[in-house]
Amino acid sequence: MTPEELSQARITPEGEAPAIVLPKGLRRVPRGVDELATEHLIVNMGPQHPSTHGVLHILLELDGEEIIAAEASLGYLHRGIEKLAEHRRYSAVGTLLDRADYISGIHTELALAQATEQLMGIEVPEKAQWLRSLFSEIVRIASHLIAIGTYGMDIGAMAPFLYIMREREALLSVLESVTGARMMFNYVRPGGVLRDLTPEAEPLLRQFLKTFPGYLEEYHTLLTGNEIFQARVKGVGVIDRATAIAFGMSGPPLRASGFGWDVRKERPYAAYEQLRFDVPVGESGDCWDRYLVRMEEMRIAAELIEQCLDGMPEGDVMAKVPKVLKPPAGEAYSAVESPRGEVGIHLVSDGTDTPYRVHLRAPSLMNLAVVDEVMPGHKIADSVAIIGSLDIVLGEIDR
């Protein structure tokens, strides 16, 4: 077409398009062929995708933008923790389990310590129980902060992540001063805890408690009140109550679906029986509810930290336990409410100094199973919102 012909081909102001003269060799597609021929596309999301929170690999079958089927493919972080635990003494298994859920190792340690104590019939000193609750809640806030911050990043809100790191740093310095480590604590041992609070820990925590409510408001301004964030999470990834129970979910995802089961309330351990706290529950079970439940849990955890500091009894932090632990033959199950859900340790002893079998009930694994069920029907961008809202840790899933 010459430029003159092209200019004539423009739509006239009256709205009528003059017939376009096609160049030689081109023919118009026959009329009546309106349907587009589409093909399903398999997309590998992960294991190196920035928003899969580790090395999660999800196979997505797509029809255009829509997810037809999803299948999680796991095992990239499998280290054989359960097998290795059968070859170590009881006191050394905690270090392995720290590395299962590496964001909140203290809860897995605690579950193991409680299972060992059940088998051996060890009475834990009261102060150790309070310290266990205190550090559980400190780590819960640190873990939820990561969950909220990275969730914002997944959705496209960069700023909250930078702020949550500031508060997390304050908590990590407390953990470092008491346990000596920032992530892999090995602080909770069968019989009690490693050591008492250091002199600088309590002022640091009190300072944190003073500033944290204001910071929480900041996140609400930055993220909760963000219209784009709301549009991405509201009504997305709805898991109803029946599905959540059928898939064995626990923790904030279960509570967001309207089922207020919390191990701390229903099967109190450590000092939770003496502590007063509410269990936040969602309504619709979408990503928005899961996010709000975590925000609320952080506020409640800060209150629990204060209660623990105020009510901390005096006394020993460690019971008298033998150097080499040899629980009598038997079985024990101990559950702990971790930031991800119910962490359980099934411990089987044969009377020797190494466990016969250690099974870790990983809440992330059970929570992840629902992905295959929930994702179909959503757009591909929602898959990121759904995975992020479940807050999984791959170290725990793959073990």
Partner: protein, 151 residues
């Protein structure tokens, strides 16, 4: 308390079960062939074990034992259903009763060398095909440091 509810629910469904009260709670031992009926009965009976919390295997040295950890919110209790299976044996899949069995069954299948007839997707969950031995059996030894170095 719990073991009585367990045995009455199982006997009402006609499942032969050996119920005992153990340190971890009420444990019902059922034959593998009756597993699905037993779980269905426990889920639907008055005791309403609505959730399968966990499923894991133990190698006793003579055979494999699978433990199904159930929770009833109505009774606020946990109970266990235990099934024995020979090495490389078969246990019917429980996923139609409890969808939460899907992943743990895949895990047990690869780490203990079992098959779960009826499972829709019994692929390996954690390890690759190069791993031939069922890793969590007692007979599978882990390599010592020297062996790894000599390799």
């Amino acid at each position: 308390m719990s073991s009585a509810a367990l045995s009455s629910a199982l006997s009402a469904a006609g499942v032969p079960a050996e119920v005992s009260e153990e340190a971890i709670g009420a444990v019902a031992r059922v034959p593998a062939s009756d597993l699905v009926e037993a779980l269905t009965a426990l889920r639907d009976a008055d005791c309403a074990f609505a959730m399968l919390i966990d499923l894991f295997g133990v190698d006793t040295g003579e055979q494999l034992e699978l433990t199904y950890h159930l929770r009833s919110f109505a009774r606020d209790e946990d109970a266990y259903v235990r099934v024995a299976a020979p090495y490389d044996g078969e246990v019917p899949s429980a996923w139609r009763v409890y969808p939460s069995a899907l992943y743990p069954e895949r895990e047990a299948a690869e780490l203990f060398g079992l098959t779960f007839p009826g499972h829709p997707n019994l692929k390996r969950l954690l390890t690759t095909d190069e791993v031939e031995l069922p890793l969590l059996r007692r007979s599978t030894a882990i390599r010592t440091q020297e062996e790894v170095h000599d390799r």
